[in-house]
């Protein structure tokens, strides 16, 4: 079954500390994975996608096919990173399969 799992509903770290938001997937084909972010009172927006291998706002995510993971990382968290983060997988029909989301809180 196709599934995206974000095991943490809530993650709280201090400003300046490293952040890792976990995402594991189950998919039989070649996955295309995304991280979306929703800041308070704003619309959901794309943060990054694995095929572009880019770093956005200091965040990176590496696809690990062996561990079927796509964890989102940032070495030094900032207060403005506080948001809801969703991991998503695109199937062969371009439908996105969503994780339940992780609420990230950065403490000052």
């Amino acid at each position: 079954a196709q599934r995206v799992t974000q095991p943490e509903k809530l993650l709280s770290v201090f400003k300046g500390a490293p952040v890792e938001l976990k995402c594991n997937y189950s998919y039989s084909g070649s996955p295309e994975l995304f991280w979306y972010v929703q800041y308070s009172r704003q619309r959901l927006q794309l943060l990054l996608r694995h095929i572009s291998r880019e770093s956005i706002k200091g965040f990176t995510a590496d696809l690990n096919k062996g561990e079927t993971s796509f964890h989102l990382k940032k070495p030094f968290a900032q207060e403005e990173d506080s948001a809801m983060y969703y991991c998503a997988l695109a199937d062969s029909n371009y439908q996105l399969i969503w994780g339940a989301g992780t609420k990230l809180i950065i403490k000052p």
């Binding site: 974000q6 509903k9 295309e32 995304f34 704003q42 619309r43 959901l44 927006q45 794309l46 996608r49 969703y86 998503a88 695109a90 371009y94 439908q95 996105l96 969503w98 994780g99 339940a100 989301g101």
Partner: protein
């Protein structure tokens, strides 16, 4: 820049009322989606449409219907609203040309009393 708009940011309706949520996009995207977003459940797909007058059920279509008479507009209809349909509703569009990225509207917070 893609623009996806939703008719209301906040909506309060009574049980049994018929509710229309409208979504309009201005970028000629083929695919449009309706999701609901609930705490702890994330985003769940209700319906999607890949062309005018075409629609497909998503994961949770029960209690909902949709209409796509024009390419730019995708409506979500609650035939008889119930309290368990209180949620944040998000519309999204997708083009298969280029980035394959979904663009989201700002959301409609629906409360059914």
């Amino acid at each position: 820049d893609v623009k996806v708009t939703q008719s209301s940011r906040y909506l309060v309706k009574r049980t049994g009322e018929k509710v229309f949520l409208e979504c309009v996009q201005d970028m000629d995207h083929e695919n449009m989606f309706w999701y609901r977003q609930d705490p702890g459940l994330g985003l769940r797909l209700i319906y999607f449409s890949y062309d005018v007058k075409m629609k497909e059920k998503g994961d949770i279509p029960e209690g909902y219907s949709v209409s796509r008479e024009k390419k730019e507009r995708f409506s979500l209809i609650l035939e008889s609203a119930s309290t368990n349909q209180t949620s944040m509703y998000l519309c999204a569009t997708l083009t298969l040309k280029g980035t394959d990225t979904q663009y989201f509207g700002p959301g409609t917070r629906l409360t059914v009393l």
